[in-house]
């Protein structure tokens, strides 16, 4: 086994002993969400600030079906993936026709469209109060109400998602997306229909977001309005950037740091988004490149410091 795999497996096993199982579960859910974004951000070079559209839509639809029709867990997951992909297809279709800053603004504006629908459609979504009472039904005799069992289930799905995403980015499709990131004009000139590939990346990213959304709804038993708002869209961008969007594992590290950060800050102060904002600004001004790069830069500094001590 490779080093990364071992580290991952060890952290999956160790995590619920370090933090509450709910938080541990949330970390892997957020990592799936981040994997979906990073296909766009890191591999295709598309900065989407509307990922919560797919996350939230999937959570609402699957949550509604779980609550009112008692569908089973796997059907709910399938619905979530489907709704995530479909909403991404709709949003992506409008967005991929524009590029650069327009693209970013469109993803945000369309996110707002979905947000305001959820906000006002109170009979279904519960509006500001969220959609409560989402069950976590048993499946094949497995009692998912047991937090640790649900944790194991989510971790397994996370590993599956990671494996799948690795396959995707290493496939010819993944290479084409990276070619678009590096040089859109050239990718077009070589004969690839760039908007279509961007849309495909959007749909795949949306499917991952949808999966994360359903898992989130089942974890907390509620879909809060934030789940479809700019807040979640911003969080996943931040988590991915802080981990480093350049690698497959960046969003995973970012998810760790972000969930841990927000969990510890939110108990400190009701106005913790202020601290989060300060953290964003500091990261951007001083730690661009994310944790991975900051770590290697620190290593570099330590090495220099050691060698300068040896000389004197």
């Amino acid at each position: 086994m490779k080093k990364e795999t071992i580290v991952l497996l060890v952290s999956i096993i160790a995590l619920p002993f370090v933090v509450r199982p709910a938080i541990a579960t949330e970390i892997w859910i957020f990592a799936i969400f981040g994997l979906g974004l990073n296909l766009l951000l890191g591999y295709t070079g598309l900065l989407s600030f509307g990922q919560s559209t797919f996350f939230g839509s999937a959570a609402y639809v699957a949550g509604w079906l779980l609550k009112n029709y008692g569908i089973n867990v796997f059907f709910a997951l399938g619905i979530g993936v489907g709704v995530g992909a479909l909403s991404a297809l709709l949003v992506g279709y409008l967005c991929v026709q524009r590029s650069g800053l327009y693209f970013i603004m469109l993803t945000f504006a369309l996110n707002q469209l979905f947000y305001f629908i959820a906000y006002q459609w109170t009979t279904v979504t519960g509006g500001e109060d969220g959609m409560p009472g989402i069950p976590r039904p048993d499946f094949l005799g497995l009692n998912f109400k047991d937090p640790l069992l649900y944790y194991a289930f989510v971790s397994l799905l996370f590993l599956l998602s990671l494996w799948l995403m690795k396959r995707i980015v290493e496939s010819p499709l993944g290479r084409i997306l990276q070619a678009i990131r590096e040089n859109e004009v050239r990718a077009e000139a070589v004969g690839y229909h760039v908007p279509r590939f961007k849309l495909l990346a959007f749909v795949i990213g949306g499917a991952f977001s949808g999966l994360a959304g359903v898992l989130y709804a089942m974890l907390f038993g509620i879909v809060p309005l934030e789940a479809i708002s700019f807040v979640f869209s911003g969080n996943v961008v931040f988590a991915t950037l802080i981990g480093g969007s350049g690698s497959l594992y960046g969003p995973i590290i970012g998810s760790f740091v972000f969930i841990w950060l927000s969990e510890s800050m939110s108990v400190m102060w009701a106005r913790w988004p202020l601290l989060l904002g300060v953290a964003f600004v500091i990261v951007v001004l001083f730690f661009r490149g994310g944790v991975v790069e900051a770590w290697s830069r620190l290593g570099e500094k330590v090495r220099l410091w050691r060698s300068s001590r040896q000389k004197t």
């Binding site: 524009r98 469109l106 202020l274 964003f280």
Partner: protein
Amino acid sequence: MNLLLGQILNGIATGMLYALMGLGLSLITGVLNIPNFAHGALFAVGAYLLVSSANLVGNFWVALLVAPLGVALLGLIIEYAGVRRLYAAGHDYQLLFTFGLALILNELIIVIWGPVGISHLPPAILRGGVDLGFTFYPKYRLFVMGMAGLLVLATWLFLEKTRYGAVMRAGIENKEMVSLLGIDIHRLFTVAFGIGAFLAGIAGALTAPIRGLSPGMGVDMLGIAFVVVALGGLGNLLGAIAAGLLIGIAQAVVAAYWTEASTAVIFAVMALVLLIRPQGMFGIR
């Protein structure tokens, strides 16, 4: 019918405010080539500054001048101390920076002014309404229409008729060329951010007596400003006005018949327009 006409007037008033927001954002985004996610927060700060300074000085007109100037100053500081260091950083980090600023400003508003909405009356002279024949219409909204119109006109005169305005338009088209011509591009960036922030601030200040204030007002307006820019095109003044009026009127008309959908309709209209014309209303990329 009279209800509809009244709503269309309302739509023009808010639409002009949307146009101001879009115009300011368009200057910042166009000249500096950054996604400004703090634009909505600047709008909110403008509104809150108006209320506080009006309460402090006891004069609406002084407050209407102080609030946008305060926001412009904030904009200059943001550009000079932060954004300036990020021109080479890529949109993702620029976005994170401005988004972080928006969070900070938004939370500071809650810390300073509280999480509960505040209402603010227009000055005595602009209270009450006038009879327009078909409807009795609030004076203050007419004032907002006129004021926003004047500001758009002033911005147009600046961009089209002054030398520095021409430089700014050139900056939107081609930054390298402008700096090669020996123009201090960094000063241009700072000025553009200042003007954009000023427009956001005054839009917020003008909005305060109409809609009241709440901490969420900034984010709501941010999405709307994005819609105006996406439809009207970067640096396109007429585009901003047309897009602002389109969504303002659509929102007001829908509000008369289906209040719940009145905000969502702004974004739905945008989606519809983009479905027909992906390049926006005036086809500028």
